[in-house]
C-alpha cells in the first residue's frame, strides 16, 4: 500500500534522512518511532510529496508521491505535526474549505467526527488551544474516509480522554481496512494501536519490528519498596538487573522477563511497586546501544 524505498535527503549541515526504507501493508497500522529530530517529519514530508528525495522514491498504491501529484492525495488523509491553518477561519469554515478542495465529503461522517471529538467548530482557529486545533486536524484527516491516513504525532496536545477516543477511532478505521502510518516519540501511544513499527534515529532506520517483538526488548523500570531492609538485600542478590537502590527502595530494570521479576519479588513482603515511564531513548537503549557500538 505504501512503500518508502531508499529515500535519502541530506540537508546542509549533514543532517537529514539516509536510505530510509519500509513498507506498510493494506489495513496495517504502522508506527514510526524516534526521538525529536530523528527524521520522522522529514520522512513524512517525502511521503506527502512535499520534498523531492535525493535518492529513492515513495509510492502509495501505484502513485509516486513526488511525480504523481494531484493523483495520490484523493486516497490520503494527512495530519501535519505542526498544525497551521489559514488565518481568519473558524473550525467549521476550515473544514468546509477542505471539503470543497476534496470535491465534497460525507457530511454525516464529518458531523459524527466533530461530535465524537467534542469541540465547538464555530470557534475561530486562532483562539483555539493546541488540543482543539489538533481535533480539527484529526477531523480533516479522517472526514473523507481515505484509504491511507498519515498522522504526524497525532495525540500531541490531546488530553488522556481524547487520546482514548482517538485510539478507538484508529482501531475502528483499521477494522474497516484503512491503512495508517503514525509517527510518535512515545512508545505507549504506538503500542496500543500499531501492528508494526519502525525506529528511526539520526535519520536512519535502525529496526522495523512487530510490535510484540518491540515490547519484548522494551526496558521498563520498576521501583519496589520493601517492608524490611533485609528483604531488600536478599532481593539485590537475586541476579535481576538493578538500576539503583536507596533505603528500602530498589529500582529494577526489566526487559521482557516479567515472569522472573514477579517471581523474585513475590518472595518478599512488598509495600508498593511503581512503574516509571521512560523516554524513548531509554526504552530502546538496546537498539541505540547496538547502533552506538557499530
Amino acid at each position: 500500500m505504501l512503500t518508502v524505498s531508499h529515500v535519502t535527503k541530506v540537508f546542509p549541515g549533514g543532517k537529514g534522512i539516509f536510505d530510509v526504507s519500509f513498507t506498510v501493508e493494506k489495513g496495517e497500522v504502522f508506527g514510526f518511532l524516534g526521538p525529536n529530530g530523528a527524521g520522522k517529519s522529514t520522512t513524512i514530508r517525502h511521503i506527502m510529496g512535499f520534498m523531492k528525495p535525493e535518492k529513492g522514491y515513495v509510492r502509495i498504491k501505484d502513485y509516486d508521491t513526488w511525480k504523481d501529484q494531484g493523483q495520490f492525495q484523493k486516497q490520503i488523509g494527512y495530519l501535519p505535526g505542526e498544525i497551521a491553518f489559514m488565518e481568519g477561519m473558524t473550525g467549521r469554515s476550515f473544514l468546509d474549505f477542505m471539503s470543497s478542495l476534496r470535491g465534497g465529503v460525507n457530511q454525516q461522517r464529518r458531523a459524527e467526527l466533530v461530535k465524537r471529538l467534542q469541540f465547538d467548530d464555530r470557534t475561530p482557529i486562532r483562539k483555539m488551544s493546541k488540543g482543539m486545533k489538533q481535533k480539527v486536524g484529526i477531523v480533516a484527516a479522517f472526514m473523507h474516509e481515505p484509504e491511507v491516513i498519515i498522522l504526524d504525532e497525532p495525540t500531541s496536545g490531546l488530553d488522556p480522554l481524547m487520546q482514548k477516543v482517538f485510539i478507538e477511532l484508529v482501531l475502528e478505521e483499521k477494522a474497516k481496512g484503512t491503512t495508517f502510518l503514525m509517527s510518535s516519540h512515545s512508545f505507549p501511544e504506538i503500542e496500543r494501536t500499531c501492528d508494526r513499527a519502525a525506529i528511526i534515529k539520526d535519520g536512519r532506520i535502525i529496526a522495523v519490528k512487530n510490535i510484540h517483538e518491540l515490547q519484548a526488548v522494551q526496558r521498563k523500570l520498576f521501583e519496589v519498596t520493601f517492608e524490611n531492609e533485609a528483604d531488600r538485600d536478599a532481593f539485590l542478590g537475586s541476579g535481576l538487573k538493578i538500576d539503583s537502590f536507596k533505603d528500602k527502595q530498589v529500582r529494577v530494570s526489566v526487559q521482557g522477563d516479567y515472569d522472573r521479576f514477579t517471581q523474585e519479588a513475590a518472595k518478599y513482603r512488598i509495600r508498593s511497586i511503581d512503574v516509571f515511564t521512560l523516554n524513548l531513548e531509554d526504552i530502546f537503549m538496546d537498539y541505540y546501544d547496538r547502533e552506538g557500538r557499530d
Partner: protein, 270 residues
C-alpha cells in the same frame, strides 16, 4: 486553476484588496477635487516648476505643468501616488499568497488535497492579478466619477489619455507582480520574501527617480522597469506603446511562469 481555492483566497484577501482600491479611489477623487483651485494658480505654479531644476520636475512627472486636468492627474497621481500604492500592494499580496503559506505551513493542507502544485500556484497568481485588476478598475471608475463630479461634463474629458494611463499602470504592475510572485514562490521565509521583493521593487522605483533627476545618472532609469510607465508621455501621446507592451507583458509572464515552475520542483519544508 482550483476554484474552491480561488474563492477562499479571494475571500481572505478581499478586505485588504478593497482597502487598496478604495484608498486609491479616494486619493484620485481628492486630486480631482483640488484641481480647480490649483488651476486658478496654474500660471504661478508653472512658473514655480520652471524655476526648479529640470530633473526634479521630470522625476515627479511635473513637466506637463498644471495647465490641464490630464497633465495634473498624470503627474500628481499616476506619476507617484498610484505607483506607490500598487508597489506596496504587489509586494505585500504576492508575499502573503505564496511565501507566507509555506512559512506558516498551511500550504501543507492545500497540497494534501487532490490538487497539483501547478494548480495551486496558478490559482494564487490569479488571485494576485484579480486584485491588481480590481484596484485599477476602481481607480479608473473613480477618475471618471471625479471628473463628472468636480470638473464638468464627461464629454470634454480626454477619456483616451486617461484610459491609457490606467492601462500603462496595469501593465507595469503586471510585470512587477510577476517578479514579486517569483520571489515569493521561491522563498521559504515570509519576511525574507517581503524584504527581497521590497528591495527589488523599490530599487527599480528609485533607479527610475534618480535617473530622471540627474543627467549624469540618466542611464539608471533605463535599467528600471518603472521607466516603461511614463504618465507624462502617455498624456502627451509621445509613448511608443508596442515595445512597452511587449516588454512588460514578457517580463510579467516570465516571472509568473518561472515562479510556478520553480514552485513545482522545489522541496518544501512543510
Amino acid at each position: 486553476m482550483n476554484m474552491p481555492l480561488y474563492g477562499q483566497m479571494l475571500k481572505n484577501h478581499m478586505r485588504t484588496m478593497t482597502s487598496y482600491a478604495f484608498g486609491s479611489a479616494f486619493y484620485i477623487l481628492l486630486m480631482f477635487w483640488i484641481y480647480p483651485s490649483m488651476a486658478t494658480q496654474s500660471e504661478s505654479l508653472n512658473a514655480l516648476i520652471e524655476s526648479m531644476p529640470e530633473g526634479l520636475g521630470k522625476a515627479f512627472g511635473l513637466e506637463n505643468g498644471f495647465g490641464s486636468i490630464d497633465a495634473f492627474i498624470s503627474g500628481e497621481y499616476y506619476g507617484l501616488l498610484f505607483v506607490l500604492i500598487l508597489s506596496i500592494f504587489s509586494i505585500m499580496t504576492s508575499t502573503q499568497l505564496m511565501a507566507r503559506l509555506v512559512d506558516q505551513g498551511s500550504m501543507g493542507y492545500l497540497l494534501s488535497a487532490p490538487t497539483t502544485r501547478i494548480k495551486v500556484a496558478v490559482t494564487q497568481a490569479a488571485v494576485l492579478l484579480t486584485g491588481l485588476l480590481m484596484i485599477t478598475l476602481v481607480t479608473t471608475l473613480a477618475g471618471y466619477g471625479g471628473y463628472a463630479w468636480f470638473i464638468g461634463n464627461l464629454s470634454d474629458f480626454d477619456s483616451n489619455g486617461f484610459l491609457l494611463l490606467n492601462l500603462g499602470a496595469f501593465l507595469l504592475f503586471f510585470a512587477v507582480c510577476g517578479l514579486s510572485f517569483l520571489i515569493s514562490a521561491v522563498s521559504n521565509d515570509e519576511k525574507k520574501a517581503l524584504g527581497i521583493a521590497g528591495i527589488v521593487v523599490f530599487g527599480f522605483f528609485s533607479l527610475n527617480l534618480v535617473g530622471k533627476i540627474s543627467d549624469q545618472l540618466s542611464w539608471m532609469q533605463h535599467i528600471s522597469l518603472f521607466s516603461l510607465f511614463n504618465p507624462a508621455g502617455i498624456v502627451k501621446g509621445t509613448v511608443s506603446w508596442t515595445p512597452v507592451v511587449i516588454i512588460l507583458l514578457a517580463i510579467g509572464m516570465a516571472g509568473f511562469i518561472a515562479g510556478i515552475t520553480i514552485f513545482r520542483k522545489r522541496s518544501l519544508l512543510l
